[in-house]
Every structure is written in structure tokens, then in C-alpha cells.
């Protein structure tokens, strides 16, 4: 791929972002390619070393704050006519509540992911506490001569402890996965904003 094709594809993939952000990205990659060519690397190789324009664009999007993206999207593409403003105002009870509902749904999905993480560690904590109390209670029973109850509590404590250890590793893996999911979720919301703009 040639430099101009790469930069044009990158510009397309970033469509919907503030123009200044697009220009800055394109200037950066244009300069990098020029410097690579000056360093004796063939143009096609220099472009190929950067990865696909879509992958590059995705990385740029991931680093842009969501509020900035929303603001760029919300800004109208042309100045509004009086009748458009009138319609917007009259329709506010409908579109504002729908928009709010959509935002609330997305937000609650995001919260849900984190709630699962919190609950995983709550389970972990309860097993840990269960083991601790079982040990103490078992010790008390042993001390007062109630050996069967003591053995039972001790056994339960050891089982809790074992589960806590085993689950800890599983939960850590699950948490890492869930965090990755939540990151991808934010990226998905961002791409939603960009694609809708492009379709207009």
C-alpha cells in the first residue's frame, strides 16, 4: 500500500472525530512514513510496518475519552434551520427520554460487568471468613470437650479454605477477562458513535 492510500484509509476510518484530531493523526503517520523512507526503507514496507489503517484507527479511538467523542458526534453537521430547532424542542419529551433510557441501559450494562467482579471477590471473602470462623468455633468446641462438633467445624473450615484458594485463581482469571470485556464494551460504544455519523 502507498503512503497516500494508507493516509486516506486512516482518514476514512477516523471519520466523525473532530477534524483537528484527524489532522493530527494523519500528520503524525505521514511524518513517520516520510522519516522511514528517508532512512532507506521502501515506501510499501514502511506503510506495512504500521499495520492496517483500521487497526491504527482503532488504537487512536481507544485513547480518546468517551465524552469528547460524544461531543463531536452531537455537534450538528450544518447550522440548524428554525423549523428544525422547533421540532427538536417540541420533540424533546420523546427523544430526550429515549436518549436518556439508551444511555441508562448502556451505563447499567457497564455497571453490571463491574458488579460481577465485585460479587466474585465477595464470594472469595465469605469463604475466607467462613474458614476463619469455622476454625475459631471448632477450637472453642474442642476446648469445651465437644470433640465431634469441633472436628465438624474444623473440617468445614478446611473445606472453606481450600475453596477460597482454588477460587482465587479462577476469579483472578475471570476478573482479567471481565476487565477486557468492559474495555471492549467502551470501544464498541465509541465505534457506535462513529459509524452512525458516517451513515448520515
Amino acid at each position: 500500500m502507498h503512503k497516500q492510500n494508507f493516509l486516506a484509509a486512516l482518514q476514512d476510518a477516523l471519520y466523525g472525530l473532530p477534524q483537528s484530531d484527524i489532522n493530527q493523526s494523519v500528520e503524525y503517520y505521514s511524518e513517520i512514513i516520510d522519516d522511514q523512507i528517508e532512512d532507506g526503507i521502501r515506501e510499501e514496507e514502511a506503510v506495512a510496518s504500521l499495520g492496517s489503517p483500521d487497526a491504527v484507527a482503532k488504537q487512536i479511538l481507544l485513547d480518546i475519552a468517551l465524552p469528547k467523542l460524544v461531543k463531536a458526534k452531537v455537534r450538528p453537521s450544518h447550522t440548524l434551520h428554525a423549523w428544525e430547532i422547533l421540532l427538536l424542542v417540541l420533540g424533546a419529551p420523546v427523544w430526550a427520554s429515549l436518549l436518556l433510557a439508551a444511555a441508562a441501559v448502556l451505563f447499567s450494562l457497564y455497571i453490571t460487568i463491574w458488579a460481577v467482579i465485585v460479587s466474585l471477590y465477595a464470594v472469595e471473602l465469605s469463604f475466607g471468613l467462613g474458614a476463619l470462623f469455622g476454625l475459631v468455633q471448632g477450637g472453642i468446641f474442642m476446648g469445651t470437650g465437644n470433640i465431634p462438633a469441633g472436628v465438624f467445624y474444623m473440617g468445614a473450615a478446611i473445606a472453606c479454605f481450600g475453596l477460597a484458594i482454588l477460587l482465587f485463581f479462577g476469579f483472578n482469571k475471570a476478573t482479567a477477562g471481565l476487565i477486557a470485556v468492559s474495555r471492549r464494551f467502551v470501544l464498541w460504544i465509541k465505534s457506535l458513535f462513529l459509524k452512525r455519523r458516517k451513515a448520515q
Binding site: 493530527q24 500528520e27 503524525y28 503517520y29 511524518e31 513517520i32 516520510d34 522519516d35 488504537q59
Partner: protein, 106 residues
Amino acid sequence: MDMQLKRGLLDVCVLAAIKKEDSYGYKIIKDIKPYVEISESTLYPILRRLENASQLTVHSAEHAGRLRKYYHITPAGLERIAAFREEWKEILSIYQFVTREENENA
């Protein structure tokens, strides 16, 4: 390496690369690459983040008939490097503690 940790470390690497003299994107990558894996698309957000944090400033200068962006470190950037050197002492002592445990077990 842990993503969050590497992000912070790369910030400091980029600042160190422009500490002595102003530098530009491609040269920063070439200077850092022998030490840490860094790509063009990783450097871009770092430069923007450091600029937003006023740890570096950007100015364009002509080079071979085109404009090239040069990055200049600010006092805040120098402070960041100094802070990293302080933190590193702590990390180093943690490392020594961790490997000492391992050596005893071996």
C-alpha cells in the same frame, strides 16, 4: 508485562528520549526500541498524553522540504523523570526482597 505498568514506564522512556535534545517521532522510536518494545501506534497516544499533561511541548520545523514535529521536554517532564528515579529505588528494593525469597527457597 502488566499493561498499566508498561504504560507508565513508556511515558518515562519517551521523556528520557527527548531529555538531552528535542527529538521527533521516528527517532524517539528508534532510540527506545533497543531497550523496550514500542511501535508507532503506541507512541502516538503517549505523545498526546504527555503534551496534555504539559510534560512536553510540540513545535514544527522544516526538514528536507517538509514539516517535522519536534518534541521538547518541559520542567514538569524533567520532574516526572526525577520522580521515576525516586520510585525506582523503592521498586528495586522490592525486587531484591522478592528474589532473595526465591534464592532461599532454591
